[in-house]
Structure formats: C-alpha cells, structure tokens
Symmetry: C2
Subunit: 222 residues, 2 copies
DNA sequence: GCGAGTCTGTCATCGAGGTGACAATTGCCA
DNA sequence: TGGCAATTGTCACCTCGATGACAGACTCGC
C-alpha cells in the first residue's frame, strides 16, 4: 500500500499532489496483474480507463495492417497512460500491452469523472504530465523529419539513459529498431559505429552507455 | 473587443469557459500586431508568454543548422501556442513567426501564474488543448514512421481540410513539403498523382480538395 | 553439456525519396 | 504591356535505408 502511494506522488506525474488527494485517488484505483503480452487496450477502442505502472513494463505501439510496428513508448514504473482518451473521449491511438509480468493501477472513467467533479483542483496535476508527453512527441517528430538515423539513435539513447537513470539498457536491438522505426540491420550497423567510437558497449540483449558527451555530439551532427 | 471575446471562448480551446473567467483572462491579455516574418519566439529561448491568434497565421517550425525546415504547425485564428513552456519552465521547442500581417493576444507568464493561483479551476481548460496537440503530434509520429509519402500526404490534406473547414488550401507546395518534411519535387509528383485520380485540383499557389473519400482510401493504403 | 530458440553481424540487391538542374507557367507590378 | 519573381513540372543521378538471406554467438532448459 505504501507502494501504491509512492507511485502516485513519486515519479514524474502528479508530483506534489496533496496527501488527501492521493488518498482519494488511491480509493478509486484497482490493482491488476498482467501476464507477459497481455493487452491493456488496443488502438481504435473506446477509452474507459487510465493505467499507472507499479511494476514491470508496458509497450505502447502502433502497428500497420502489414505488421510493421512503431514502439511509441516503453512505459515504466510511475508512468501513466491512457488519460488522453478519458479527457477527449476519442479512441485509443495506440495498442498497449504488458512486457513481462506487470502490475498496474487502473482508474475507471466514471470514477475519475466523479472525482474530478468533486475535486477540480486535480486537473492541474495532469497538466505537467501532458506537457511532458507533448514535448517528447514533438521531439520525435522533429528528429524523424530532420535528422539521419545516426543522430536519431544518439538522441534516443540519451533519452532512454536519462529516463531510466541507468547506463544499462536491457532490451534487444529489435526493440530499439522499432522505437526508431528502422530496420534491425540498419540499427546494428549504427550501434557498431558508436561502439567503435567508444560511445556505447553492445552485448547480447543489452547495451551500456559509456560516453554521454560523445552521444551528444552525434545527436547534433547533421 | 467582442472580437477577442469570441476568440477566447470560441474555437477549439477553452471552449465552455465561464464568462467571469473570460473577463479575467481578457484583462491580462495584451494585443499585438506583427508584420510578415516577424518572430514571436525562437527555439531554445525561455518561455515568458503564450499567444493566441486573432487574425492571420503563425508558423511553428524547427530548423536545422543547415537550413532544412520542418513546418510543425500552421497556427490560425483561435489557436494558442507557447503554453507548454509556461507550465514546465523548459525552453521553446520551435520557432514561431508571423505569416503575413498578424494580430495576436499575449499572456505573460507572471500574469498567468497569478491568475492560475487565484483561479486554479482554469487549469482544466488547458487539458483539452494539450490533449488535442498531443494526439496530433502522435499521429504525425505514427505517420512518418510507418507510412509512405503517398499516405502521409493524403492524411495531411484531410487534416488541413478539416482544420480550416475549407476545401481550398492557400499555400505553395513548398510549404506543404515542409510540413511533411519531404522535397518539393517528391510532393509535386504525389500531388499530380492525386490530381490524376480526381482527389484534388492543383493550381498556382493553392489546391482544392475534391474527393474526401478518395483521400481517405489513399491514407490507409500501405 | 547439448540442442533449440533468440539475438547479433554482415552481405547483395532494390526502391523511395533527395539533389541539382532547367524549362514552363502564373501573378504582380512598373 | 512587358519583365521579373515566385511557383510548378520533370528529368538524371545518387544516397540512405529496406529486404532477404545466412552464419555465428549467446542463453536457457532438459
């Protein structure tokens, strides 16, 4: 229970939420356990709830009819997803599914609406969260449109490095490729380049950031 | 003055704002006239105000050191920009400059903060606005990553068609190319294709949407 | 310790779209 | 009306990254 509490007013979103509000939020949360690969929602569905990650990871992705996939975001402990559909009433814009066994908090639309009605001051705590996501999305738009793979990779590595506050990134190159929407082969080539330059160390199923400054200079090289 | 009033609680954002709040917002707005090409702010600067368009257009764009430009958004009457930097305190993520003679409302950071302090219920009206921008940005990320130029163009034309509620789009192909971050030549070729198919009519400095259904089918074609 | 499945490195081939160049067209203004 | 700048159409050439194929490396479970 202190667990849930930490999630709610720790980490990025809802930071600084007043204690009584945390309680009221906790009161409308249901805890749910998901098995690896289990879907939370799918693109195009109605949005009936938002979810916060307690433990494990959630993949947010878009997939084309032909099966090409874009990994929009790896959602980790303390992040919330699905709130946009609750606010604007429009359909889910991505698929969301668990990566490994995962524990989430679920807040249903009705309960949230009721709480927001009673406590409109809660709205303000969603603002920083939306701003953060908007900035992230805009930076992806910019990077994809204007910079070559080498720079985009460096940027993304820096993002991931900062986000997880860990120099070890644990996922296959395939996933990183899907984040950048490039082929695994092209990604592998770029990683080798970065490794040769001493910026990262690549090994089976993970990679380590060695030199942040080097990555920064790669990130701006045109 | 009724003018400003209409902008504030008309069009997409802050719709449904209660009358007294509109008054208080109007009270902290300064009206400003901009000449063609005049910059409102530049990428990397501190954000000290947000702006709403009364008349004319604002271009939001990212530019690389080498001069390649991405036209993130054409901001029109009733839209607001620059609010994200006020909320999160981080730097401007795009350049913003007037396209033609333009009239804007400016709300300074201090005044907004004061008003938000006094009237925290105002926060909730920013939420739909942020959601809308986030969805738009995510749809661009998705489209750029997963779909070929032909589909992205069709989607963008549909977006612009809906946004301006006008079947005539008045800007050179060069601008449309910068929105999609492709070369003018490639865009021209695609437009010719669409014209041959009867979806649009292309002429000097403008184009007309003729067949929305046709564009829709282009938009999903892999 | 062995085999199956996963992950990584590398190659040849191909296509979408960038680049540079140039002609044709249109609008605008003197 | 004539000239100039902006816009558009089109072409040849090139580059980046996709694709498909395959071999080697690593893990994990039996």
């Amino acid at each position: 229970m202190t667990d849930k509490r930490d999630i709610l007013h720790g980490t990025p979103l809802m930071a600084g939420l007043a204690e009584p509000l945390v309680d009221e939020l906790l009161a409308i949360c249901q805890q749910r356990r998901l098995r690896d690969g289990e879907y939370i929602y799918r693109q195009g569905e109605e949005g009936d709830a938002m979810y916060g990650v307690l433990e494990g990871k959630i993949r947010l992705s878009n997939t084309t009819r032909e099966g090409r996939e874009l990994l929009v975001m790896l959602v980790e402990r303390g992040d919330w997803i699905g709130e946009v559909s609750l606010f604007d009433g429009a359909a889910r814009s991505q698929d969301a599914y668990a990566l490994g066994d995962t524990e989430v908090l679920r807040i249903g639309k009705e309960q949230l609406d009721t709480l927001l009605e009673a406590r409109p001051e809660l709205y303000r705590y969603f603002v920083p969260m939306l701003c953060r996501k908007l900035r992230l999305a805009l930076s992806y738009v910019e990077a994809t449109a204007l910079y070559p793979l080498s720079a985009r990779l460096a940027r993304r590595l820096l993002d991931l490095h900062q986000q997880s506050a860990d120099s070890e990134l644990h996922f296959p190159q395939e996933d990183l490729a899907k984040m950048l929407a490039v082929s695994r082969q092209a990604l592998s080539r770029e990683l080798k380049r970065l490794e040769a330059a001493g910026a990262v160390a690549v090994s089976y199923g993970k990679l380590r950031i060695l030199n942040v400054d080097l990555l920064c200079s790669e990130a701006v090289a045109g």
